[in-house]
């Protein structure tokens, strides 16, 4: 991770490294590092790469300590503790268990007959880039003008007033990865954001979260570009290889120059900059890929160029190559039951997540859907019971990890969130009933300690500007 020396391109990654290196027992993430502050001598002739690159301005909200008492606490670390309490303070989980007592200054929340889980994390969302109300004017997810658009960044499309955001919050989601669409072989950078009320995307960006890059296999790129190419799967592969060959040369030129900064800097090229960061291991590959045989091709591509694929997405056939995913350390982000809607999605099984788990691969339930993201606990439950009914050995905790700890790993933020443990961030959901039941609702959602959703609040949930003055915000009703 420390190989990167292009501060500009890897600013956020560097912040993440610093955080990991300097992690306090409480696991606190670093404050967003300002490159300007890091280079106080910055003068007018500095290079753009030395200046801030769209840094996060997210700030944790001050909040009173919260003590959730007498709930069933599902930690996503292997435990489901009955009649337990959880104490949140200063944005952190301070303590949990059956012997924790409420401090005098804490707001006490009764959890009797209720359940507590980590905040839900979606590895695959297009909220903000395909915002409601779904007009052409807000269709900002696919830069479908070239098969390789590694130069675009999803955060430059995200509309923080997408009214779908509070709907997802009401489903217990605290963090999501927003990706460009799947028209392109390389679609651009993703953004990992907190689901909080915000005026700008910078106010949502998860400090320290590494960037991902969206890549897509199969039918979409070859359909979109059939007249100019690629128009076949072999054309797709040639396209990825050509892009990474160029990026290898770019990385070599820059690494050489950055070593002593002698002479003119090489030309800056955003497309190659992103792909070079993939080669340096600083940007994770998030790969839309339905078919098992294509996943095997992509794993070979990754070997050819020396990078890792962090997760396949929409991995309908992951169960066919679960052993390959386990061996390569690549997660499978899957749906519980979607499929059959196109040829490459023809072979879904309800037990996909369960079979991945059985094979020792990291399974993730993702949505790619503004509807699905509102009920990820239900997808978890569907996939869990499908596995159980098929006789696959699974625990409820393993299933909970599909929507919490495992997606946190895919996004590279698992040192801070995704489980209920002392020291982790207070990304916490209180459920009205067992989250494996269709009748369960997220009742309260804390995002780094900030109560961003309270179903019982008569004022209702937070409104985006689009919601204001409309007849029915819908949220949380």
């Amino acid at each position: 991770m420390h190989r990167s020396v292009i501060r500009g391109a890897s600013l956020v990654v560097l912040a993440a490294c610093a955080g990991a290196g300097a992690q306090s027992p409480a696991g606190s993430p670093p404050a967003p590092t300002s490159p300007a502050a890091a280079t106080p001598a910055a003068s007018t002739d500095t290079l753009s790469i030395d200046r801030p690159q769209y840094p996060s301005t997210y700030k944790r909200r001050a909040n009173p300590p919260v003590f959730i008492r007498n709930a069933t606490v599902m930690t996503a670390t292997g435990q489901e503790i009955a009649n337990a309490s959880v104490l949140l303070r200063d944005g952190k989980i301070v303590a949990l268990g059956t012997s924790v007592t409420a401090p005098a200054d804490a707001v006490v929340v009764d959890g009797t007959d209720k359940f507590v889980t980590p905040g839900i994390i979606d590895t695959h969302s297009h909220l903000g880039v395909y915002a409601a109300p779904g007009t052409q004017a807000e269709s900002d997810g696919n830069e479908a003008t070239n098969p390789v658009t590694a130069e675009v960044w999803a955060e430059h499309s995200i509309w923080p007033h997408d009214p779908q955001i509070p709907l997802a919050v009401a489903g217990g989601v605290t963090v999501m990865q927003v990706l460009p669409g799947s028209a392109n072989l390389v679609g651009g950078r993703s953004a990992t954001v907190r689901l909080v009320p915000a005026r700008t995307v910078q106010e949502m960006k998860f400090p320290g979260a590494p960037y991902g890059v969206k890549m897509a296999c199969g039918e979409n790129p070859k359909r979109v570009y059939q007249s100019r190419g690629p128009s076949t799967r072999m054309g797709n592969m040639a396209g990825y290889r050509a892009a990474f060959i160029a990026a290898e040369q770019y990385r070599h030129r820059w690494d050489k120059w950055l070593k002593d900064r002698k002479g003119d800097a090489p030309d800056r090229d955003l497309k190659n900059e992103t792909l070079a960061e993939v080669l340096r291991g600083n940007i994770s590959v998030q790969n839309h890929c339905y078919r098992g045989d294509e996943m095997a091709q992509m794993l070979d591509l990754a070997k050819e160029f020396g990078f890792k694929i962090r997760s396949f997405h929409h991995a309908i056939e992951a169960y066919k190559v679960a052993d390959l995913l386990a061996a390569s350390g690549t997660a499978g982000s899957v749906w519980s039951d979607w499929g059959g809607f196109k040829m490459e999605a023809f072979d879904p099984v309800l037990e996909n997540a369960a079979l991945l788990t059985q094979a020792g691969a990291r399974a993730v339930i993702h949505t790619d859907s503004p509807d699905g993201i509102q009920r990820m606990n239900q997808d978890m439950a569907k996939a869990y019971f499908a596995g159980v009914h098929a006789g696959i050995t699974l625990t409820r905790d393993q299933a909970l990890r599909w929507i919490t700890a495992n997606p946190a790993w895919v996004l590279g933020i698992d040192q801070w969130t995704g489980t209920l443990e002392a020291g982790k961030m207070a990304d916490v959901v209180l459920w009205s009933a067992d989250p494996f039941s269709v009748y369960s609702k997220a009742e309260k959602v804390w995002n780094e300690g900030w109560l961003v959703y309270d179903r019982l609040d008569p004022k209702g949930p937070f409104k985006t500007d689009f919601n204001i003055g409309q007849t029915a915000p819908g949220v949380g009703r």
Partner: protein, 420 residues
């Protein structure tokens, strides 16, 4: 949470095969099936614990707690199980091809005004999606055409049978009219234009029916659609065939009720995202509403989307029908009902909304409840059918147990151990 076993899945296909062979070996007409010991939710009345259901000649002959089992009846033990009517999906596609696969969609034709189109003859009884729908307890379906202003007629089918003729319950159960944003082009770009065009079509259909001879001789002015399309509208204008109006915005529903009044139509509303804002008028007009309970994302076609739409409509006295529309397939209909309960509907109303209510709305009088005389479409569930922990263990259609094995099960078994 109860972790129910699933006999069909855990004990393999052998049992099922035996069941099929025994059905084949015994003349069905002579056979009586007695399902005993389960908790029955007949929908037509309160639930009955430890009940017996008798089935003969494909029909229910008795339901109750103290029903004697005739000698020679085939007994099916349903102790600890929940039994409901077979679910009816009012917005179905299974059998009409797979969306997104080239050349595989059979649910619509080109052109704007297609009242004569009926997708029934495009149904593939062997479609792999049909047994998948059955695993969700769906026994009956209304196949809804789409993609145009007047997309055509809705046939009703059972999800069993090797031939279309075996599947068909009602060749034409309703006529579809799309009043959403999608149809503005058909009216020249404005909703008001769309309404004017509908009135021209309806008036011309009535004119055509009064003056067929002159029309055929060509002695009246040209009408706004070909004769076959106008002819197809006549059952709607005679009040015999319901007009299924897809509408989300309040003004579109208001317009639908206006058309109903002007032409004395039977109307069913589909989608009705802002229906809750019109609940009293819809109830007063006696119009059933087909909703998707998870629709809460605002669009300019329905800014007032909210999760408790169905609940508010039901509370106003509207007959609510629940449909599902996610990419998980029709099998998720039962979870749509569960989500309606999550959003405030009573459990009984939600069950009614996927059984008796669609049967009543579309005139399928033999279906939708467990009562003597009704067609024996029913499901034996391992538990609460709305929750994820349960499975449909046995599905009966017209008194026959139908296979629940799908290609998904075959794929799972092939790859259960790797490499396969």
């Amino acid at each position: 949470m109860k972790h129910a076993r699933h006999p069909e899945r855990s004990e393999g296909a052998g049992l099922l095969l035996c069941a099929i062979l025994s059905l084949g070996a015994t003349p069905l007409a002579a056979q009586t099936i007695a399902i005993t010991g389960g908790t029955v939710y007949p929908v037509s009345g309160p639930r009955i614990a430890n009940a017996t259901i008798l089935i003969q000649n494909g029909r229910i002959t008795a339901v109750g707690a103290n029903v004697p089992v005739p000698a020679g009846a085939t007994r099916v033990d349903a102790g600890g199980k929940w039994i409901t009517p077979g679910l009816i999906h009012a917005n179905a596609q299974a059998g009409l091809g797979v969306a997104g696969l080239n050349g595989q969609q059979e649910g619509g034709v080109q052109g704007e005004v297609n009242p004569s189109f009926n997708p029934a003859e495009g149904v593939d009884p062997a479609a792999f999606t049909i047994p998948i729908a059955r695993t969700g307890g769906i026994t009956g379906a209304l196949l809804v055409p789409g993609g145009s202003f007047f997309p055509g007629q809705i046939p009703a089918v059972n999800y069993a049978g090797d031939r279309l003729n075996d599947m068909i319950v009602s060749r034409s159960a309703a006529m579809v009219l799309d009043l959403t944003d999608n149809s503005r082009a058909a009216g020249g770009g404005s909703r008001a234009g769309t309404m004017a065009r509908i009135r021209r079509l309806f008036d011309d259909a009535l004119e055509y029916s009064r003056r067929k001879t002159e029309f055929l001789k060509g002695t009246i002015q040209p009408l706004s659609a070909p004769a076959r399309e106008l002819e197809a509208l006549l059952p709607v204008l005679r009040g015999e065939l319901p007009l299924a109006v897809v509408a989300n915005r309040r003004i579109d529903m208001e317009n639908a009720l206006r058309l109903k009044q002007e032409y004395r139509l039977r109307v069913i509303l589909y989608s009705a995202v802002e229906g809750w804002q019109m609940a009293r008028e819809i109830a007063a007009a006696g119009v059933p509403v087909v909703i998707e309970p998870n629709r809460d994302i605002p669009s300019f076609d329905g800014l007032g989307a909210r999760l408790d739409n169905g609940t508010l409509l039901r509370q106003a006295g509207v007959d609510v029908v629940i449909a599902q529309g996610d990419a998980g397939g029709e099998r998720n209909l039962r979870y749509a009902a569960g989500n309606a309960v999550r959003n405030g509907m009573t459990w009984d109303d939600a069950l009614k909304a996927i059984t008796q209510a669609p049967a009543a709305a579309f005139g399928l009088t033999d279906y939708g409840t467990l009562e003597p005389g009704k067609t024996a479409n029913l499901v034996i569930w391992s538990g609460d059918p709305f929750d994820f922990s349960s499975v449909a263990e046995k599905v009966y259609i017209k008194g026959r147990e139908t296979p629940l094995r799908t290609r998904e099960h075959e794929l799972r078994e092939k790859y259960r151990r790797l490499p396969p």
